[in-house]
């Protein structure tokens, strides 16, 4: 234990101790505490004693099942179709709320697909969690290229030696400095369906051909709107990271490329991009991890959104743990989130490892 780090650095350790102990108290301890809480039925507010319930929270959250529905048939055995020609099926609640199928009690329909005449219905015991999971993954999937790619574009633009380029760098970086809550409030007004700025601009640009869309009130556009806004906000931050990477590429390589007569695209592909490898890995991992923590935008703008279309994992954690006082349920979601992020980061690290 008497390595160089500890031996000659006693003063350093003493100085770091307050910081470390706070980090330990507020991040490390709750981290392990969450694992413990997820195995109990702890409530935020309750005179009842806490009980250890094992994996029941995980079961309640993650149970899914597939039900096969036979179409309604007439006396003669023909399939009944409704006015639109769609096959009519019995309601799922006749199965999930009947005494014949106790294993489906408390489950709700998540989605269904048709195979032939029968419908396969996937029921889940916690549909809101499933939707939150899918939404979070979708958010991460779209925001990585959008934000990372957009940031790269901006970095390439401001990497030129033009006069006043620093002003542009400041302008592009400004959204990062403003609190995400303030930005969410502002964009809520911009996205407003009645007199929102976005609708007005699009209407003006298309000379009135564009009819106003309720961006945040429509299940199709709500998540996309939040993705676009989040990408815009954090782009400046990653632009600076890309910029650092760009400026670390040796200018002699660029000179060599221009001597060889490479086009702009070829320069980018063969000189810039390989030099940005490490930066790209960093940006990718950071954006992915940050995107899983999306909360403030949802909380301020849509509250989970029209029909759960903007539900996210962290939002559900807070809603459940604090709003509905089920702190063990919230802890369970956060443990699942942690495992997911760990897995994805490990996969990313593996895929982007140095191959020598």
């Amino acid at each position: 234990m008497s390595s160089k780090l500890t031996r000659s650095n006693r003063a350093g350790w003493v100085f770091a101790l307050p910081g470390f102990s706070l980090l330990f108290l507020f991040i490390i301890v709750p981290f392990f505490f969450a694992f413990w809480l997820s195995l109990t039925n702890q409530r935020l507010v309750s005179p009842n004693p806490t009980e250890f319930i094992g994996l029941k929270n995980y079961q309640d959250l993650l149970s899914i099942s597939v039900i096969t529905l036979e179409p309604e048939r007439t006396e003669a055995g023909e399939v009944v179709r409704d006015a639109d020609g769609e096959i009519e099926y019995p309601r799922v609640r006749t199965i999930t709320r009947s005494d014949e199928f106790p294993q489906y009690r408390g489950m709700q329909e998540w989605f269904r697909w048709q195979s032939g005449d029968t419908a396969k219905v996937v029921v889940a015991s916690d549909v809101v969690f499933m939707k939150a999971l899918v939404n979070t993954l979708t958010f991460a999937l779209f925001i990585v290229p959008l934000q990372g790619g957009g940031a790269l574009l901006l970095a390439l633009l401001i990497n030129q030696k033009l006069r006043g380029i620093n002003a542009y760098r400041t302008i592009y970086f400004m959204p990062v400095v403003i609190s995400i809550v303030v930005i969410s409030l502002l964009w809520r007004f911009i996205y407003s369906g009645d007199e929102g700025l976005l609708n007005n601009i699009l209407s003006a640009l298309t000379f009135g051909a564009f009819s106003p869309v309720d961006w945040l009130g429509n299940t199709d556009t709500a998540l996309g709107s939040i993705i676009a806004m989040s990408a815009w906000q954090a782009m400046g931050f990653h632009m600076v990271i890309w910029l650092a990477g760009l400026q670390s590429i040796s200018p002699t390589l660029y000179e060599a490329a221009s001597i060889e007569g490479a086009s702009k695209w070829q320069t980018f592909r063969y000189v810039t991009w390989p030099g940005l490898r490490n930066t790209a890995v960093l940006v990718l991992i950071v954006i992915t991890m940050q995107s899983f923590a999306v909360f403030a935008q949802v909380d301020v703008m849509t509250n989970g959104g029209p029909l759960d279309s903007t539900q996210t994992l962290v939002f559900q954690t807070v809603e459940r743990g604090y709003g509905k006082q089920d702190i063990s349920g919230g802890a369970t979601i956060s443990v699942i989130l942690f495992l997911m992020v760990l897995l994805i980061s490990a996969v990313q690290a593996f895929l982007t490892r140095e191959r020598t």
Binding site: N41, R43, L44, V45, S46, P47, N48, D60, R91, V92, R93, T96, R97, G106, Q108, E109, V127, S192, G193, D194, D214, L216, G217, T219, N303, G304, P306, L307, D308, E319, Y322, G323, K324, Q325, D326
Partner: protein, 419 residues
């Protein structure tokens, strides 16, 4: 020597003064009205009068914004930092009492004699909180609108039936003069949803939970009456009678005054502003959807926390605040219903013949408190989400089933919530 004598004299004097001040025990009071100048001023007057009128207790108030008040109290309870007297929203009180944040309020029976029933907060056979006012909801409209659309004016004894109400909305929609016929206030997320909309459900014959046992919502929230309510609720949005869940909060505040909406379902705390902005506003009672016309009840009440060592001081403060003159002052200031008839006579709006006098009767006869259960905190959030989803087009029966399942699970996890 002179210096020492002066110093000793000063010391003695300050000790006596300090001793006198120490005889007054300080009681901390938390209130939810930060940002509301009128309310804060009246409350400060009540507190100053109380502090001056007796020498045992001094009340010191700390105000919080309403949106974060409940969270702040829960957080401070977990930290062991509760004040002595606190303000609690009527339907939340059972949850805080069950959780051990509140202790019973030792208030005398004379002090609450003649008060509206919904202003007394009872749980488990004890009184935990008493309120200075009650709130009611009414259908705001203009007398000119009623004339123009040729509608019968409903009264307390003869409210609109469901058919009459829908016919009124149809007429408003057909006239083309309004953005929407009915402003329900869907922009106000939070406690407004259960407070304002569960009376509709109750008027249809359903309820948030089964009040006979409080241990299930099955049949109450997903029975036939509730499904009928859900389908009617969905039709309001699908058929374009009311703006949806993405209504602009600004429209909610001023839309009726500006003439965007023909009818507005709003609380009587907005009455003062509306009376200023609209000349001929009338306040109609709730429609009767089959089970009698019902409006919500139960507003903010004062209670004493379990951490307080002087509940008798808290009770003394509350009794002082319950004097008719203060009830009338609050009512004039924020437009809510005063807790006693005598106080009502002292106000501008609720005295006999005043513009809002009808609400006193409404509150007495048609109001129904939200379910009195510690489980209400969760049930309210579940109900709000269910109504939001139905308004956005989700399947009515499935959404109500999911809500029932969630409420029942929560009741079971909490071992019945002490019922």
């Amino acid at each position: 020597m002179t210096l020492t004598k002066t110093t000793l004299g000063a010391l003695a004097a300050s000790t006596i003064l300090a001793g006198a001040a120490a005889a007054q025990t300080e009681l901390s009071l938390w209130y939810h009205g930060a940002g509301n100048e009128v309310e804060s001023n009246i409350l400060n007057t009540v507190i100053d009068d109380f502090n001056a009128a007796q020498s045992d207790w001094t009340v010191a108030v700390e105000s919080f914004p309403q949106q974060s008040y409940n969270d702040s109290v829960v957080a401070s309870a977990l930290a062991g930092n509760l004040p002595c007297i606190l303000d609690v929203d009527g339907p939340v009180m059972p949850n805080w009492a069950w959780a051990g944040y509140l202790q019973p309020l030792p208030i005398s029976q004379e002090a609450i004699d003649g008060h509206l029933d919904s202003t007394i907060g009872r749980w488990d056979g004890e009184i935990y909180s008493v309120g200075l006012w009650d709130a009611a909801v009414a259908l705001y409209t203009r007398a000119s609108t009623m004339d123009a659309l040729g509608l019968r004016t409903p009264t307390l004894e003869e409210p609109w039936t469901r058919e009459e109400f829908m016919a009124a909305l149809d007429a408003a929609k057909a006239s083309g003069n309004y953005d929407y016929a009915l402003d329900l206030g869907t922009a106000w997320t939070g406690e407004w949803y259960p407070y304002a909309y569960s009376p509709f459900l109750q008027s249809f014959g359903g309820d948030i939970v089964d009040r006979s046992t409080y241990d299930t919502a099955e049949g109450a929230l997903n029975g036939d009456a509730a499904i009928e309510f859900g389908e009617w609720w969905q039709s309001l949005f699908v058929d374009g009678y009311a703006p949806g869940t993405s209504q602009d909060p600004a429209d909610r505040d001023t839309g009726f005054i500006e003439g965007k909406y023909a009818f507005s379902w709003n609380g009587n705390w907005a009455a003062a502003t509306t009376l200023d902005g609209v000349d001929d506003v009338v306040f109609l009672p709730a429609p009767d959807f089959g089970n009698g016309p019902i409006i919500g009840a139960g507003s903010w009440q004062f209670g004493v926390s379990s951490a307080c060592e002087h509940p008798e001081g808290a009770a003394a403060f509350v009794e002082h605040a319950l004097q008719d003159k203060y009830l009338a002052a609050f009512s004039d200031g924020i437009g809510l219903i005063p807790a006693t008839k005598d106080a009502a006579q002292m106000t501008e709006k609720y005295a006999d013949g005043g513009p809002l006098a009808v609400f006193f009767g409404l509150s007495e006869e048609q109001s129904l408190v939200r379910p009195v259960s510690p489980g209400y905190v969760v049930a309210a959030k579940v109900f709000e989400k269910a109504l939001s989803d139905i308004a956005n087009g989700a399947d009515v029966a499935d959404t109500l089933d999911a809500a029932v399942d969630e409420i029942n699970d929560d009741i079971e996890t909490n071992q019945g919530y002490g019922h």
